[in-house]
Symmetry: none
Subunit: 428 residues, 2 copies
């Protein structure tokens, strides 16, 4: 039985970039350590959800950990809240919030000039003082980091089955919150959406007259005069990662969403110095701690956000540089014995440095440690086409991990009254 | 329309072995006849169930023959019973039995020193004399071959939805028989499990005081002082292979499980001299008989167990030798015209010579005879990655066989009130 180091480089996959001679950042980067793992292991390509579908990071991570994102996603809002240590009760929904800037009717900055927490938290406080409840629902706005926040809506029969008001683009007005057409209880969804829309209208009133925004405008900064909400979520109630797959697991991540996913699955979230979830994160610190804690855990999940940030910011050269830096710091993993430790390396999705958006292109994945050795010697989107794992789906990953770690139960064996295999996504 | 010779080398796939220069046994073996079939045919890799899932042999064979193992497996116990010619009635379940050795509380030998049938059958007889029924269920213990046996439990509403007592490992106590959590009738499953547990306790009493075991212990042999049961099964009631796929089929196998699967599907089971289901089986005899009976049948299934046995015993060099021997005896198949006969060669799963266990790694497969010819010239786990069949599932095999044999009906055609395609697993 092997232990597992499971590394996700967020938004790793990409498309050919003219400035890189029509190669991807991963094809361009000098990454001897990663290529060594590939040449002594087996590679392939993952469709995180299914071919052509660009995943959200929450759904992709859930699929990779063996939770069906179509039925088992508690919602981005509550996962991210959990990552900040915000507790969510029953009869409560949580939205991810952006403080943003409206000019006339349209959004001109989805992050209000990346307003600092110092000011955004003051705005949230003012909103909470003025507006406590609407139509029987209680509202609480929490600033988390910079322009980001969480909105909690609680009350009897509050429904998560409502739409985002964040249009995910600029130059258009915020959307109205609407009940989902397929809502299981349309009445609760309508009541929730109505209350949320009334709340958001009143929030704009409070933000517009705030001294904080007056100061910002005087300083020529975009005011945070609107909030955009998305990803309504509920208190997670998922089977734990340990119960589902038998691994005692830990997470090393900087970004709150990833910590939140890990926490929702009952993984221990280990805070390591310098893990910021930004491009300046201390990669060395993450890998060092992983090699230390792998003695206490069966499964260590390492998440690095930097590659995705470079892609969203459309900076292919920065992405190349970050991959090279990560590769350099990964050298320490060569101290792990390939007989005891399975290393899995992949991205949660592709993010295009051209469009700055997630794409539905598959992501290279590698397994190293006792597995079959294919003929692929380097790790990138094109080399991986010839890999021995072939094309897989996100939900195939955990069964493949169990197998490669010599922990899989034979299909059909019934040593437990709730056989593990029955819960595997073997039909994908 | 072609006839089909369908060859399964049990447990054929493997992982890289240090002693073989990090190659698999199949990569190492000199096998000119098999490689010739590969170079004039098309190859690929099969996930018998789905990626990463190690299959039991019963489930893998059912999937390959186009029966969904998640819904259409009557159970290993009854398939194996059928292979020994043991008839199972309605209101009866059959378990596969191992005579085993307990020391104190824990199992120290799952096969009681491979006790011979001469003695094991005497033990079964003593048990049957002493214990005939418990809680309204009738019990009958049958010794089949060496340490192996079948336990029949019959009575109104007996349930197969109970767990194994065989933990599939040593150094631990036998498990208790428990109702499955997902049992369709929990009450019947509980009644069955209770009666089985009482029976097994009483069996231990009978075995402990048997003269047979006293003699064994005097001779320094491990006593068969416990039975382990697994794979509860019911009387098979599957649509026949002929009705589902249109083939008049025959089976040439030594192992009882494989004969049992064939019998459950209505194939003619042909006994050929020297087919033992062991490493000493007469491979030549099997292939010779196949080339003879292919004139009377549309589909001849040849099963060879030896490769799996070498893997379970962790003997990679023996596995190489057996593959070379099988390859040598396969030369006779070159007498079959590739215009009349489709040859399919694969394994039912991979078995690791390192762990001695089934793994979820995919298995190479080849089709020869009128099919497209890809660029792969040798037949092994790594070469097959580039094969023209790509990665397929066990349930894809029969539609691919029908197609290659020019027997497939066009999708959507309704010449029968129960069109064949509707029963195909085209969505896998």
């Amino acid at each position: 039985m092997k232990r597992v180091v499971f590394i996700i480089l967020d938004g790793l996959g990409d498309r050919p970039i003219a400035d890189l001679g029509y190669k991807t950042p991963l094809q361009t980067a000098f990454k001897p350590n990663i290529d060594k793992l590939a040449s002594k292991g087996i590679v392939g390509l993952v469709h995180p959800i299914s071919p052509g579908v660009p995943p959200g990071s929450d759904s992709a991570h859930l699929a990779y950990f063996g939770y069906d994102p179509t039925t088992e996603n508690p919602g981005r809002g509550s996962l991210e809240a959990l990552g900040y240590g915000i507790k969510i009760g029953y009869d409560t929904i949580a939205f991810r919030v952006n403080f943003a800037t409206l000019s006339g009717d349209v959004i001109i900055d989805r992050r209000a000039g990346r307003i600092e927490s110092e000011y955004a938290s003051q705005l949230a406080e003012e909103v909470n003082q003025e507006i406590k409840s609407i139509n029987g629902f209680n509202f609480k706005l929490i600033n988390t980091l910079d322009h980001r926040g969480i909105l909690l809506v609680s009350g009897s029969n509050v429904s998560r089955e409502v739409t985002d008001t964040d249009p995910h683009t600029i130059g258009v007005p915020p959307l109205r919150c609407k009940p989902l057409e397929a809502a299981s209880s349309p009445e609760n969804a309508i009541r929730t959406a109505n209350a949320v829309n009334r709340y958001l209208r009143r929030v704009r009133g409070v933000l517009c007259k705030s001294e904080v925004n007056k100061h910002r405008m005087e300083e020529g900064k975009p005011p945070a005069n609107v909030i955009l909400i998305r990803g309504a979520g509920v208190k997670p109630s998922l089977e734990s990662f340990h119960d589902r797959w038998g691994f005692k697991a830990a997470c090393i991540a900087g970004g709150p969403l990833y910590k939140g996913v890990a926490a929702a699955l009952g993984m221990d979230v280990i805070n390591v110095p310098g893990a910021t979830g930004r491009v300046d994160s201390n990669f060395s610190s993450k890998f060092k701690h992983a090699t230390r804690i792998i003695k206490e855990y069966d499964f260590v999940f390492i998440h690095i956000k930097a590659t995705d940030i470079a892609s969203h910011d459309r900076k292919p050269l920065l992405k190349v540089e970050l991959i090279e830096k990560i590769d350099h710091e990964m050298e320490i993993l060569s101290n792990l014995s390939s007989e005891d430790v399975l290393i899995v390396l992949t991205g949660d999705h592709s993010t295009s440095c051209i469009t700055g958006m997630h794409t539905g292109d598959p992501v290279p994945i590698l397994f190293h440690g006792g597995v079959r050795i294919d003929e692929v010697k380097s790790f990138d989107e094109v080399s991986a086409i010839a890999g021995g794992l072939g094309f897989i789906r996100g939900l195939n990953i955990m069964p493949l991990v169990l197998n490669a770690a010599d922990r899989a139960e034979e299909f059909g064996i019934k040593t437990s009254s709730k056989p593990r295999m029955y819960r595997m996504h073997y039909d994908r």
